[in-house]
Every structure is written in C-alpha cells, then in structure tokens.
C-alpha cells in the first residue's frame, strides 16, 4: 500500500527481555504489557492523554485476558477513553499491529496509535483435556445430582493432565525447530555458519550495550533494566560444544543458535505528522511500506520462508531494490532461518517460483545486517519482537546521519511473514 499521509514512529519503549523462568517468572503477559505501555507513557509524557487506538496481542494469551490490550490500557495512566483491541499474528504480531495503525493513520481515520505486543513462556496458560472440559460443561448444565454424576461415566485419570498451550504447528505437528531443521537440509546451511552468525549477533549486541544503545529503548519494569540473554563473553567454542536441540541425531540447531524462550513486551507510538508536532515531538523516522505474506508450508515450502514473499512485495510497492537500504533488520528466529532467507533471495529457482522473476533479488551487504544484533542476542518474546525492531530502527535513523532507509523482515508461525520499510523523515 502506498501511504497517503506520512506515519511517524514517534517513540518506542520496551521492558527488558528476560530468559523465561527468571526475573519475570511471576509476571503474566498482561503485567508485562502494562510495563511496556507505562514505560512508553512515561517516556513520551502521555499520562491522562487519549490515544486513538492501542493495538496489541500475545501469542500465549490466557483466555481470561480475552480483552488483553484494553485491560492493559486500563491499568496504565493513559486516559480510560483510549480504545484498544487485540490482534495476533504469531511472531509478527507487533509489526502487524503497527501495520494496522499505520494504514489507519495514512488514510486519515486516526491520528495516533500504539502498537504493542507481549509474551511470557513463564506463565503459559494451561488448558484442560478436551474430554474433561466437556464433562465440566455438562456438569454445569445438568440439573439433578444423578445427572451430574452421570457426566463422569467412562472417566479416565489421563483426562486430569492439563496441557499447556503449545507452539507446535497444528497442521504438521512439528515444532518450529523441527521445521527449521528441514529448511537447513533444503538450503544446505552448516552448523558452523549458524554458530558464526549467532556469535556475530551476540558480539554486535554486546558492543551496542557497551555504548548504551538500548538505555533509552528499555524502561525498567519491576526494577529490571537489563536484558539477561545476551552473552557478552560468548565464544565460538562455547557454541560448538552444544548438542542439537530438535533433531538429536543429525540436527544442527542448538539452544545456542536458536532464540531462547523469552519473557517481555514492547510498545511503539505511531502518529500523523500533525499529531506529533502538536504534541511537541521531533519526528526522525517514518514507516512507509508494509506487507504481509504467506506460503504453502503444508505442501513443503519452508515454514519460516514466507518473509521472502513479504520483502518482494514491499520492494515492488516501493520500487526499491533489495540493495537500496542502509541497514537491514531481519528477525533471527533461528540463525538458520535468517541464513536460509538470505540464500533464497539470491536463488534463481526460488525467485522464479515465488516472485515469477528471471532475475534474483540478490545479496545484501552483511555489514549492514542487524547492526546492533537481533533476536539471538536479545531474546524473542514472540509478539513483542516487532516492537523492539521498530524501536531499534527509529533510533538508528535518529542517531546516524548515514542511515536513511531500513528494511525489516519477520517470520511467523503458520508459514507467514511481515516486512516493512522505515525511512528518515
């Protein structure tokens, strides 16, 4: 979609990203979202103000928080007249929510919005066995004691074992890592390449942290300021020692070169030029294009390869080449996923099949990729990653004269992808 009005990335804030079951172990996704939103509110001085829309989501949301975004808004100091709703597109959630807000601002429907996302693996909601859930519902409906008792006919103890909401692909039954192993085989990515890519992500992030890059992007929540996944002292030999995590025999994906289970939340304030200026903000970056895509992974396309299609779409919309960017922010679900993605963009057959093009998109300068590290180093609280990346992009443009245009790509479960272009205002 070509934007009609410019859409500014005004401000961004997130909680620290913490390894699951550590410092946020008692925090629900909603608690974390409140933390991220309040951080943004304090940073951008939005207390008691009404924002047109807050759009947010969580991949692992408890059914009791059915109105997650609105409930979170009510717990912050935003005006209660701020409307909010949930959107969920797996790991693309908070970039997708930014897309929705962007479209509404661009077309003049709204002036301001907050895109946000949150996830916690520490507080994964459990659900009852479907059979057992049926019985309980029948008990509620039954009117006499006899009828109530009858509901338990044929009861088995197995039904009492609750199941956590899973992140396995429902169609294939395979885990995300399992699917990524298939992509590794298809694209011939080696263990060494993955470990090296991971090493670099940690190194770049370490350098950024040393320079205080994240200090104004993270707002302390329950007294926690710092991400705790990043290993500043990481070494290749440490990574090489790890055993494969998904395919124990022949696999190459390890706990090191895959993103860690992470708790955290992020929030990004988007607005029209008018609104931003009226409220006293300097605009540095805008979000100008966004596209979504899906592939047929059930028929054998790589599960996490759909971002290629999304990138192809934004390139076509904008008329830009894959090489026309000063920096690239490609989410690293697995080191292998980013590597497969890059390889596919330069593969003739793949380009022909998916983009109906005889030319390839080609390669990008790896020096421009994930300048401050990405999800392998910071962690990946599924729905919050898009917001983190938008914040990074805005800051890169704000602080570096030479960085005028960036390309974002994020893969999601269900064989989907989101891509966006951010540009200097």
């Amino acid at each position: 979609m070509k934007t009609v009005r410019k859409v500014a990335i005004v401000s961004a804030s997130r909680t620290a990203f913490n390894k699951s079951f550590t410092l946020y172990k008692d925090q629900t996704p909603k608690d974390l979202l409140v933390g991220a939103l309040q951080g943004l509110i304090d940073k951008a001085d939005l207390s008691e103000k009404q924002i047109d829309e807050v759009v947010g989501g969580a991949v692992l949301n408890a059914s009791s928080d059915f109105n997650l975004a609105r409930e979170a808004v009510l717990q912050t100091t935003l005006s209660n007249y701020t409307s909010a709703y949930n959107v969920q597109q797996a790991c693309g959630t908070s970039l997708q929510t930014a897309g929705i807000i962007m479209a509404k601002i661009a077309s003049g429907q709204i002036e301001s919005g907050i895109a946000c996302g949150t996830d916690s693996v520490s507080k994964v909601p459990f659900s009852a066995h479907p059979k057992f859930a049926d019985r309980l519902l029948n008990v509620f409906k039954a009117k006499t004691t006899m009828k109530k008792l009858k509901c338990f006919k044929g009861f088995s103890l197995k039904e009492l074992i609750p199941t956590p909401i899973g992140v396995n692909e429902p169609q294939t039954g395979l885990s995300m890592g399992g699917h990524c192993e298939l992509m590794v085989k298809e694209w011939g990515i080696t263990r060494e390449q993955q470990d090296e890519f991971t090493f670099n992500s940690h190194k770049k992030a370490s350098q950024a942290v040393q320079l205080g890059f994240n200090s104004d992007l993270i707002s302390p929540h329950i007294g926690v300021y710092d991400d705790n996944i990043l290993r500043q002292d990481i070494s290749m030999s440490d990574l090489e020692k790890l055993n494969p995590a998904f395919d124990k025999k022949n696999g190459t994906i390890t706990a090191g070169n895959a993103t860690a289970l992470t708790d955290g939340a992020s929030a990004v304030l988007l607005a029209s030029e008018d609104w931003a200026k009226k409220n006293g903000f300097d605009i540095h970056a805008t979000i100008s294009f966004i596209a979504h895509s899906a592939n047929d992974f059930t028929a054998g396309d790589g599960l996490l390869m759909a971002p290629t299609i999304a990138v192809d779409k934004v390139l076509k919309q904008s008329g830009l080449k894959f090489q026309d960017f000063d920096f690239y922010e490609f989410h690293e679900a697995f080191a292998a996923q980013t590597l497969c993605f890059l390889k596919a963009m330069n593969d003739k057959q793949y380009n022909k099949k998916f983009f109906s093009s005889n030319k390839v998109h080609g390669e990008v300068d790896m020096k421009k990729l994930n300048l401050v590290g990405s999800s392998l180093a910071y962690g990946h609280p599924f729905a919050a990653t898009g917001g983190r990346i938008l914040g990074v992009c805005e800051k890169l443009i704000r602080e570096n004269k030479d960085l005028n245009r960036g390309l974002i790509a994020i893969c999601t479960a269900g064989g989907m992808g989101v891509s966006a272009i951010v540009e200097r205002y």
Binding site: K25, Q38, D42, N80, G212, Y225
Partner: protein, 669 residues
C-alpha cells in the same frame, strides 16, 4: 430528586453522587491542594454528608468513600492546627472531630472505603470508622499504598478516635505497634493486621469491589470488632506482660522525658483495656497536653523543615534519572551504590581494583538479603548492581558520582576523562568533603555541570545529603541533583562550597570541645558521652570521634583551622596507630563494633551542664553558618530552618529540641 438535595450541601472538597443503585459515592478531592488533608472545613463538609446519609438512610444502600487524588488522605492538616495553643480550643476541635467520626461509625447505612496511595494519621482514623476497607495493591512501586499512624513522630498520638478504633478492630498488638513506632504498613501488612478487608490490583477495582460488597450487604451493618485471639492481650493478666514488653522496647528508642506521647498512649491503653468508651475519654482528655508540649511543637517544626528541604528539590527539568555510575568502590562509593540500587536505580560501579569490586558485590548481596528478604526482589536488585571495571556505564549514565581518594590531582584527572565519555546533560558529582569544587573543576571543559553530593557514613542509613553549590554551577543541574537526592529517599540541603560545608563544620568544634574536656581529666569519656546522650544526641561525641576515625576527624579539624593544642591525646593516639573503631582501639577499645566502657559515669554531677559546655560550640558555629549564608535558600526566608534541618538529619541533633538554632534561641530567652 437526589441531585437537587445534594446540590444544597454546597460541597467544595467532596464530589458526592447518588447512583442508580442507591449507593452514595463520596469522592474526596480537597480544593486547591495537591493532596487530601483533613482540616476544619473538610471535616465540616464531611459531617454534612453524613447527616445527609442518615437523613436518606431508608433509600440508600450504603456509602462508599474514594479519593480523586493519587493518594488517599495524608492526615490532618498540621498547618490548620498549628495556631492552636490553648487547651480549651484544642479540646473543642477534638470533641467536634470525635462527634463526626462517631457519627460515621454509627451511620445507619453500611459504609465502605477504597484506599489508594498514602493513608496516614487522620486519614487512617477516618477509614477505621468505616466498616469495610479495600486497599489498592498495585504493581507500580511509585504509588504503592502505605498506611500508618505517624503521630508519635510529631510528638502526639492519634486524637480523632484512632486509639480505641484501632485497638478494638486490629487487636492491641497490631494497633499499638503501629501507633508506637509510627511505621507504615504496605498493603500485605494492612491485610494481615486487619485494616484491609480486601486487596485489589487496579485502582478501578476499588469502586467495583465496594459496590459488590454494599449490594451484597443490602443495608445490613456488619460488626468490625477484632476476633478472640487478636483481642486476647486486653485480658488484664496478659496485658501486664504486653505492657512491659512494649515499654521496654520504647525505652530503647525514646527517652520518656523527651518524648512523652508514646508512653502516655501506652498508659491510656493499660488503664482502659477493652473499655473503649473509657479509652475514648482518656484519648480526648490527654490530647491537648501532648499537642501543646514543647516536644510536639519542636517535632512539628522539624516536620515543616523536612518538607521545606524536600521543596528544595523542585526542578523545572523533566530529566529523569535512571542510570547512576559510581566511581570508587570504597566504603562510601559502595554504600552509595547499594542505596541507589536498592531504591530502583540502575547502578554501574567502577574501580581499579577487582578485589574492591568483588567485595562491593558481596556487600550488596548481603545488604539486599537483609533488607528485601524475598528471593526474587534480591535477584532483581542484584541485576541493578552492575560491576563495571571498564567504565562502560559512563556512556548511558544520567549521574556520575565520584567517591575516590581525597587527592586533588587524581580527581582532576578523573573528571577530565569522565567528561569526555559522558553525554552532554550527564550530571557529574563529587563526594569530596574537603576539596573545593572550584579546584576540581579546573580540569573540566564545562565547569557548570560539576556539583557536590556529600553523603554521610554509612550512606545507606543517614538521611542527609549535602548538595554542594560552586560559584559557577548551572542552577538546573543543581536542582536535578537535589531532586535525585529526594527521589532516593534522602533530605537534600544545598550548601555553599566552603570548608566543612555545614555538617562537618558544626560537628568538628563540638567533638573537639569534648576531646579537650576529656584531656583536662575533670570528667572521664563515659561521663561526657552519657551527658550528651541524655541531652538527646544519638551518640556521645567521643564515641563518634572513634567511629569516624580519629585521623579523619583531625584532618577535618585542621581543614577548618581549629586549634589543636600540642601534645593532645588525639595526636598521641593517632601516632600510636589507634585510630578508633576501624583499628579496634582509639579513645575506647572496640569489640565487635561496639565501644567497651571501662570507667563508670561520675555520679553527683550535673550532666546537663557538661552537655551544654560540650555542645555550645555546635550552636555557636551554626549561628556563624547562618550569618555567612552557608546554606542556599532561594528567598532567604528559611535559612535558619534549613540549618536546623541539616544539623538534625546530618548529626542526629536532639530532634525534640527542634534544632540547634532553635534551641539556642530558647536559651537566650
């Protein structure tokens, strides 16, 4: 119909609504004030509302009280009662207040209140007359609910019916502990003690929890007396034991001659036990005497002063401080770092020595374990205490505090290096107690950003921080520094950059006079220390000299150009390497961090006279500080107040006397 009737009440401090379910919502929102406080007008309006509720009791389901402000009720408005000097006027007011709260307690409809933020003193007495109390227990630490009776700190006890209402509902142990210590309860404590019937996690839920309760009660009024076990200490036999226990605890903390109010309160309870009517009578009868006592006057003065000191921390800038970088992991640097991390700042601590850093981390862990108790809080605090040998925290620091050796050249070099690495608006602070800021700043490109933050040892417990103002300082940086100090829970005092600043300048001549007197041999050190403690100092001057370290003590004295007679005992002790507590030997021998008293206190002598001899240099020096305008005070209205505050919070100078200058004035009268 109801709206019309309500309009007739003409309320200015309350917003009252009669809703469609016949609940009368009373929202307190004191006019033209940032916080809700109870003064005569507010109470009179509240009385009108209660009459209205009683008049309409047949239709109303209940009354719910909420606050429109960030806090609930901060207490009685001390200002509006300050002019009350005559007993009969105080009694008149107290009687009126009791009638109102009794009316509330016996209201014909059920009552419930929702408490957010601070609910103190008169505020707590108000809610204790309600039958159902909901307390907000939010995640955010900034506006955490906090409930307590601070009255003893002002030299009085709760006088709006707080005594018998708390004892009858919470039981004597809970209630007396709160009233005698003046400590506030957090929401969980409020629930355990019986103040809170229910905790909720969002402010919006206060209203809806009250609604559900009032509708459920359907006009029925519940009793709120404490249960059997909680009331057990009211049993005459058990009460004796409890009474003695409380009294011995009290004696450890407060001299009954100086602080009569808590003792009076304890006696009132002992006399009436479960006879609450009698307790109310005694509460009213003794209140005026407490209120007009010198102690109460002086403590109230300190209360104003402490507010004035916090008022110094008003900053126009919206710069918020999060990242604190501390250079130097010695005792002082480490203690400052621990305090800041404990208060929620992200602290990076830098030192050349790995050992010092390691020690700092161990100390921090120990401190947090003792203070925070809960493992997850300790873990969180430790993530904020970051060992940073390379100084990578400088780039994102909002404040840098230097606490290294007192050596001008080293400091100059350090600040030059630091300045090159920090952001433009980072505040640079030195903890020096001796070197003028003007000299340190010589090496800096932008001198205006250097301020002094002078903490006192031990930095995590002493409440005062002197903020040192150089001639060339940027006022904005100074104010942000003051705000930072206030936000970390300490009292800021802005002082000119002159030798000894305020606190050391008044302390040194006082300690020296004690040492000189001891040198003379007329009185032994135990007697001199005892005399000053009896006067109201937290520690005797000779013990203090040992605690500070005799070498440091002497350096300060020299810095201040105090005369030190040749061949004095201090110099000899220093020559022998007996430096005080840190070497386990000085004037006293020290065992396990405590001085060993070897001689007995001289009997049959006037301790008070000794105290006055030893202490008079302190107030004389305080007066010269006033004359020399050592303390910065925008409109020069409160200088003597601020000096008194600084000396009280910096040295512990007998609070019941209301400060050194205040006491000196009373002597001259």
């Amino acid at each position: 119909m109801s709206a019309n009737k309500l309009d007739k009440l003409k309320l200015e401090n309350f917003n009252v609504k009669w809703d469609c379910e016949n609940i009368l919502w009373v929202i307190i929102d004191c006019k033209d004030k940032s916080e809700n406080t109870l003064d005569i007008e507010v109470l009179a309006e509240f009385d009108k509302i209660l009459d209205f509720a009683n008049d309409n009791a047949k239709e109303l389901k209940g009354l719910g009280l909420l606050s429109a402000k960030k806090n609930f009720i901060m207490g009685a408005d001390v200002n509006s009662f300050a002019d009350l000097n005559e007993h009969n006027k105080i009694n008149e007011l107290i009687n009126k207040a009791h009638l109102i709260f009794d009316k509330l307690d016996n209201l014909k409809i059920p009552t419930a209140c929702g408490i957010n933020g601070f609910c103190l003193g008169g505020g707590l007495e108000t809610v204790l007359a309600f039958k159902y109390r909901v307390v907000l227990n939010n995640q955010e630490t900034k506006y955490k609910s906090s409930i307590g009776f601070p009255e003893v700190k002002l030299g009085i006890y709760p006088g709006f019916g707080g005594t018998f209402r708390s004892i009858s509902q919470l039981g004597p142990i809970n209630a007396l502990t709160m009233m005698l210590t003046g400590k506030n309860l957090k929401p969980s404590g409020a629930k355990a003690s019986g103040i809170a019937h229910k905790l909720v996690d969002t402010k919006d839920k206060l209203r809806w929890t009250i609604r559900r309760k009032l509708l459920k009660l359907d006009g029925k009024i519940e009793k709120t007396k404490a249960g059997f076990f909680k009331s057990l200490p009211n049993n005459p036999l058990i009460s004796l034991f409890v009474y003695n226990k409380f009294k011995s605890e009290l004696k450890k903390k407060a001299n009954p001659k100086h602080y009569p109010a808590p003792y009076k309160l304890l006696d009132i309870w002992k006399e009436s036990l479960s006879d609450y009517a009698k307790m109310q009578k005694l509460e009213k009868a003794n209140f005026a005497e407490m209120m007009t006592s010198k102690t109460a006057r002086n403590l109230q003065r300190i209360f104003y002063i402490s507010n004035a000191m916090k008022g110094l921390a008003k900053s126009a800038s919206d710069k918020s401080i999060r990242n604190v970088h501390i250079i130097g992991a010695g005792t002082m640097g480490c203690d400052i770092a621990i305090h800041c991390a404990g208060k929620g700042y992200r602290v990076t601590i830098q030192d050349l020595s790995d050992d010092m850093l390691k020690k700092a981390k161990t100390n921090a862990n120990k401190f947090f374990k003792k203070r925070l108790k809960k493992p997850e809080l300790i873990k969180q605090a430790m993530t904020r205490f970051i060992i940073d040998k390379e100084g990578s925290g400088l780039s994102s620091a909002d404040v840098v505090i230097e606490a290294i050796v007192e050596n001008l050249e080293v400091k100059q070099k350090l600040f030059k290096e630091v300045e090159a690495k920090v952001a433009k608006d980072t505040i640079l602070a030195t903890n020096t107690s001796a070197i003028p800021l003007e000299k340190i700043a010589q090496s800096m490109a932008d001198k205006t950003r250097l301020i002094g933050l002078h903490f006192f040892n031990p930095a995590h417990t002493l409440p005062l921080v002197e903020i040192i103002k150089s001639d060339f300082v940027n006022q904005e940086f100074l104010e942000i520094g003051a705000k930072f100090v206030k936000d970390m829970g300490k009292f800021p005092l802005i002082v000119k950059s002159s030798p000894g600043f305020l606190v050391n300048r008044v302390l040194a001549p006082y300690i020296m006079s004690a040492l000189k007197l001891e040198d003379k041999g007329t009185y032994n050190k135990e007697t001199i220390d005892k005399a000053c403690r009896e006067f109201g100092m937290p520690m005797g001057p000779i013990e203090l000299a040992d605690t500070v370290g005799l070498d440091i003590m002497l350096n300060v004295a020299k810095e201040l150009k105090l005369k030190i007679p040749k061949g004095s005992k201090v110099e000899k002790l220093i020559q022998d390497g007996k430096l005080g507590r840190k070497t386990n030997s000085g004037y006293y021998d020290w065992k396990k961090g405590r001085p060993v008293e070897t001689e007995s206190v001289d009997k049959n002598i006037d301790l008070s006279e000794i105290a006055h001899t030893v202490l008079s240099p302190l107030w004389v020096e305080a007066k010269s500080c006033l004359d020399e305008k050592i303390v910065w005070d925008k409109d020069r209205q409160k200088s003597s107040d601020l000096i008194d505050g600084g000396i009280i919070f910096g040295t512990g100078f007998a609070p019941h006397l209301g400060g050194a200058l205040n006491y000196m004035k009373s002597l001259n009268k």
